[in-house]
Amino acid sequence: MKFIDFLLKTKSNIKTANLNILIAGEGGQGAQTIGEILARAAAMGELRSSYMPHFGVEQRGGVSLAFVRINSEKIDYPKFKTADIIVLMTKRAIPRLGQYVGEKTKIINLIGKDYRPFNMVVMGILTNAIQKLGLNLSSESVETAIDQNLGKKKGLGENLAGFKKGLSEEVIAFGKNLPGFSSRPEGKWKILIDKFTSKEKKKITFIRFPELCKGCGLCIECCPNKALIWGNDGKGVYGNLMPKVNPEKCNGCKLCEETCPDCAIKVEVK
């Protein structure tokens, strides 16, 4: 540091801004977009910012972390040891986060929230939280950064509306502890069962596994009797809708069980 800077620093009583933000999502949630927009918006004023992604190879699912640092001083390295804010968007990220939780870390838990567009509402909630912590991050610069990020793509209105909604959303109470995470105990799968008698008098047990169904819809396309339609009686692996059987049309042919890439359907016929 130059001598003059050292003098200015010791004489200055301006609070230095310094925030380490970790956005923890999974592939497809838009966590990286939030990180990039936040870093760009923060740097539009007098603050400095950096953004560094960290993710695996899975195109969907997996873990996607965005490291954002906002500082009034020069930033030495884009990652950090301890996060000041963790934005938790998926259960799958929890095992990766333990090392970044410190005494003063604030955790914004968004698991299970059904906002649309998800990442823009989260952008609003995060901006609100940062502003409440006293940092000079203006909502206008975030809106400009959102516009820049979209570029020629459509949907600016929808995205800005989501951002505004997030800004005014009750700030999720800051938690101090990561929620518990346990992988499924060996052998116990969650199931949804439909039992019925088909038109041909067969007794059919139609079982769905929400912990496996990713909502691809191949079964709906492949059913020769058009007996499957999108249901709303539960959520699958990515919070997706799952198909549901129409007992009046199903004849127990098991083509859906054969077709499912995730083995999420089991049909028992007596």
Partner: protein
């Protein structure tokens, strides 16, 4: 009441749900392979090498010796394994990038030498894991991440792997092409491919036409329609 999903016995349940995208064709091929491993009781005998690309997401899919190899080098690795353990069922599992681009040289020579291994190439006509760029098998006019205006059309046809291997390969080699929407044919051809290795100590190759709803940006119906389009260019059958 404990109900289990209809996994083949050779599946490793604790790695499910697997890491493939919704509607991916890979798990359909892997399910067929799993059923054949069950039926032939090959769980101890089989060894599977996975290439880099989306196929690598299957490295902990089965309760069968599996490992990952360098990109495009799955075939020579499995040849080496077979040389060391001739009684094994040695399977190389690649995408169309690993098989026909970076790994093409090894593939051609393996067929030429009639190495007693089984190669499965899952063809979705693009490089999926890196974001959907053009591959050798991208159709003429197809829009991909690196051909935003459609693949240039002076080319007469995209890359025809099985046809090429039939010309180059030993006549004892089993060469075929099938697709993920025909599970009966897929099971039949894959079984014959495995038998060609175990019973005839010869090379076997199966290209499987597959779907990629993510990079194609298609829903289930559109993905299957696109697959039909692929089948009119890449003919299924035994060569």
């Amino acid at each position: 009441m404990m109900t289990n999903p209809p996994f083949p016995k050779s599946y490793l349940p604790k790695t499910k749900p697997h890491l493939f995208c919704p509607g991916c064709g890979h798990p359909l091929v892997l399910k067929t392979l799993g059923k054949l491993i069950d039926a032939g009781k090959f769980q101890k005998k089989a060894v599977i090498g996975f290439d880099i690309g989306c196929s690598l997401l299957a490295w902990d899919f089965f309760q069968v010796k599996s490992f990952q190899t360098h990109h495009g080098r799955t075939v020579p690795t499995m040849v080496g394994y077979k040389l060391a353990k001739p009684e094994s069922l040695s399977i190389a599992y690649q995408g169309d990038g690993g098989g026909y681009a970076i790994g093409l040289q090894s593939l051609i020579h393996s067929a030429f030498r009639n190495d007693p291994i089984t190669v499965i190439v899952v063809n979705n006509s693009l490089y999926a894991m890196t974001g959907g760029q053009m591959a050798p098998t991208t159709l003429c006019g197809q829009i991909t991440d690196s051909t935003p205006e459609g693949r240039s059309c002076p080319i007469e046809r995209p890359f025809m792997g099985p046809e090429m291997l039939r010309c180059v390969g030993d006549k004892k080699a089993y060469i075929a092409r099938t697709s993920v929407d025909n599970h009966i044919e897929m099971e039949k051809y894959l079984r014959r491919a495995i038998e060609n290795q175990l019973d005839n100590n010869s090379f076997s190759f199966l290209e499987v036409l597959s779907i990629c709803p993510l990079n194609w940006r298609t829903n289930a119906k559109e993905s299957l329609a696109r697959l039909e389009e692929m089948k009119s260019v890449f003919r299924c059958g035994e060569l």
